[in-house]
Symmetry: C2
Subunit: 422 residues, 2 copies
């Protein structure tokens, strides 16, 4: 492996490296009542014909079509009514020539019968039925397997299951469905200054914010977050935590302590755990320059910056699309809105900038105000609506210029925007 000692990589290189990994989720069976949004892990074929018996498509009488040939408004055929089949009835009397059976829509077609005459073309009198129309063979009969033939493909592997799809599976009687397992994503924060939620804060300490944002974000990405706790700023402790995470999870997402980005201690520790497949130390993006990305035996490890807004932005830009891809889920469709830059926005040379902004409706215009990403970013974290990209090569955006804001919150959460009524 080549030493990549803080030689900053472009986002394109990062994506290419991650694309080269072949992270595969396992397969598990889940009840179809709980499978909406999951990804089908097999081509699904029907074990039965649907319907699995001949059904009446209309209310009327099951008859032998030949008996009605030549019938008309002027010369009805008279058949003997020998019984009735209601919806759900399991048995039906056999129909012989000259006979008929009253049937309800969806009901079982009696043996012997080969068509249904609609009730509208008949008059029932005592035990007799007058049929005023000739009926063609198979008319108003739904054959066995008409909807789904036994053995036919219902749904293809890789489909994200909707309630509709699950209905089609239910029609074949399956109780469970094979879907891809959620990827286990180890989440931890590193830093001596971090304290668990609920504990009393002593001077010098702050609460562990990133584990909360990342656990929720991982779940929103379709992953299964596994919280590994707070890791102290100690090389041995970090290596120990990494080993545990790699042994038990599919993806590792750690973040630095809030007060600093991972220095060289992290990548050097990473190099010594195992031999990494690759190790990126530094990404040409802002925020996110100190991000470290590595892989061990195909397992991706992300070390995000410590500042909450930075960590979450890097998560959304780099980690989320790959957790979704590896989970076989479609890419998240982030909504974009046009807004006016409220102030001139500068960008750092050579870095692809994702400027967190707050959108405010002013004089009927949406305006994008940059929010801070530094240590004072706790409150701005929740007030950030999305980001404006300033790509490498572009040095600033003029005040009043139209910008595209990629939203990280639903649009109806914007102040002054959207309405909440059905």
């Amino acid at each position: 492996m080549k030493e990549l000692f803080y030689s900053v990589s472009s986002l394109e290189e990062v994506f290419a490296k991650l694309d080269s990994l072949n992270v595969k989720p396992g397969v598990e069976e889940v009840p179809i009542q709980q499978a909406s949004g999951r990804v089908l892990a097999e081509d699904l074929r029907s074990p039965i014909n649907v319907p699995h018996f001949r059904r009446a498509a209309r209310d009327g009488y099951a008859i032998i079509s030949k008996d009605t040939f030549g019938a008309g408004e002027e010369n009805p055929v008279v058949l003997r009514l020998i019984g009735e089949v209601r919806a759900g009835q399991e048995e039906a009397p056999h129909v012989s020539p000259g006979q008929c059976v009253r049937v309800a829509t969806g009901g079982l077609i009696p043996s012997g019968a080969d068509a249904v005459v609609m009730v509208e073309y008949t008059i029932e009198k005592g035990g007799k039925v007058e049929v005023y129309r000739a009926v063609a063979p198979r008319e108003h009969i739904i054959d066995e397997g008409r909807d789904i033939k036994r053995g036919s493909l219902i749904l293809k592997k890789g489909v994200v299951l909707t309630p509709q799809d699950l209905g089609a599976i239910a029609a074949t009687g399956a109780e469970k469905v094979k879907v891809y397992s959620k990827l286990k994503v180890a989440v931890a924060s590193t830093g001596d200054e971090l304290v668990r939620l609920g504990e009393k804060l002593k001077p010098g300490k702050i609460y562990d914010v990133n584990s909360v944002t990342l656990i929720n974000a991982v779940r929103d990405s379709g992953g299964n977050p596994v919280y590994m706790g707070i890791i102290r700023d100690d090389r041995e402790k970090l290596i120990e935590a990494l080993k545990k995470a790699l042994a038990t999870c599919d993806v590792v997402v750690f973040s630095g302590g809030t007060s600093k980005g991972p220095g060289d201690a992290v990548p050097s520790a990473l190099r010594e755990v195992f031999t990494p497949d690759f190790l990126i130390h530094g990404v040409a993006m802002k925020p996110g320059k100190p991000t470290v990305i590595a892989a061990y035996h195909g397992k991706p490890v992300f070390m995000l910056p410590g500042y909450p807004t930075s960590a979450l932005l890097v998560y959304y830009i780099i980690v989320d699309p790959f957790i979704r891809k590896w989970s076989q889920l479609p890419r998240r469709e982030l909504r974009k809105v046009k807004a006016k830059a409220a102030v001139k926005m500068f960008s750092e040379e050579g870095r692809h900038e994702f400027k967190p902004v707050k959108i405010i409706l002013e004089d009927g215009e949406l305006k994008a105000y940059p929010t801070a990403t530094g240590s004072e970013a706790i409150t701005t974290l929740s007030s950030t609506h999305g980001y404006v990209e300033i790509k490498v090569g572009q040095s600033f955006i003029e005040e009043g210029e139209e910008v595209t804001v990629t939203l990280l919150k639903p649009v109806n959460e914007l102040e002054g925007g959207g309405e909440r009524k059905p």
Copy 2:
């Protein structure tokens, strides 16, 4: 109450009646690690200052600003280094005039000090630090409560919590958050022909599809589905199930057996359970005409048609928006695409039609093909991508006419459309 015996109501009347209900979810506390997507049920104020101690904004030395007044590149001030504060350190030596303490970004500012001089403007030699710049009071110090003042509003009641919001809550140390409970939605199917999944199918019987589609759809709407089982076509059984559903749940969503829409038995049974606040029997929509909607002491009851596609479409058009509204969730933003009508589509007079369609990419054009909604609708259920609306007063759509398809599946599930890569 006025008798509304099958006098079909317009969708507008249905929405107005449902809008008049005041269904309120309860409130519960959930761990903030699991609260993404939930709705905040109180105005949230911070119990602490964030940060709750004076922090260094930069690596450098904590000093008394007055000591540096007059310092410059030519005439450094020399201060005595009396100690160090690392990130997370709980105590710091007091700084007296002529002294300084080395501080890391995020670290505790020692008492006595009122500013930080950045490391770039200093030279440390032995136990002394030469300061080559005058520093203003409070420079590079983040005051207590700078981000969040104790008692200040962090988030407003009604916000749909994002990972970012939960990060802001975590910064104040809260382990749990008060959110609206999910509405309990009773789901059941009625019909003598229905069989539970997994059971052996006898002739005349079909599997209960609607409970599976509706349970999944309710969960997607933010509700908590409660399965009440299969209800036989028996007035007493239906009344018993309704009583149980109304006693234990917030909303009732039943559907008719697959083979028939609810006839008069259902509304007449509904009238006799309690005195309904209102009772709508029949909606001027297609599919969905036999839909019955009622309310008892403010609790909504929906009796959907039995055909799976009809039941689910009525669910999406009428029930989903209200479950979301009552849950305080924003309306679902259904994606719309333009397509060409592949065939002439007729509409029934006086009914707002929602024609289920499948979209196929043909010769670079999206074409909308109607899918069936009748008894043969099991497979078409999963192949339906969305619907085309034909409003009351419009009698048909010409072949080749541009139509707007409201999608019920994500766009990248369309054949030939979308891509699946990050």
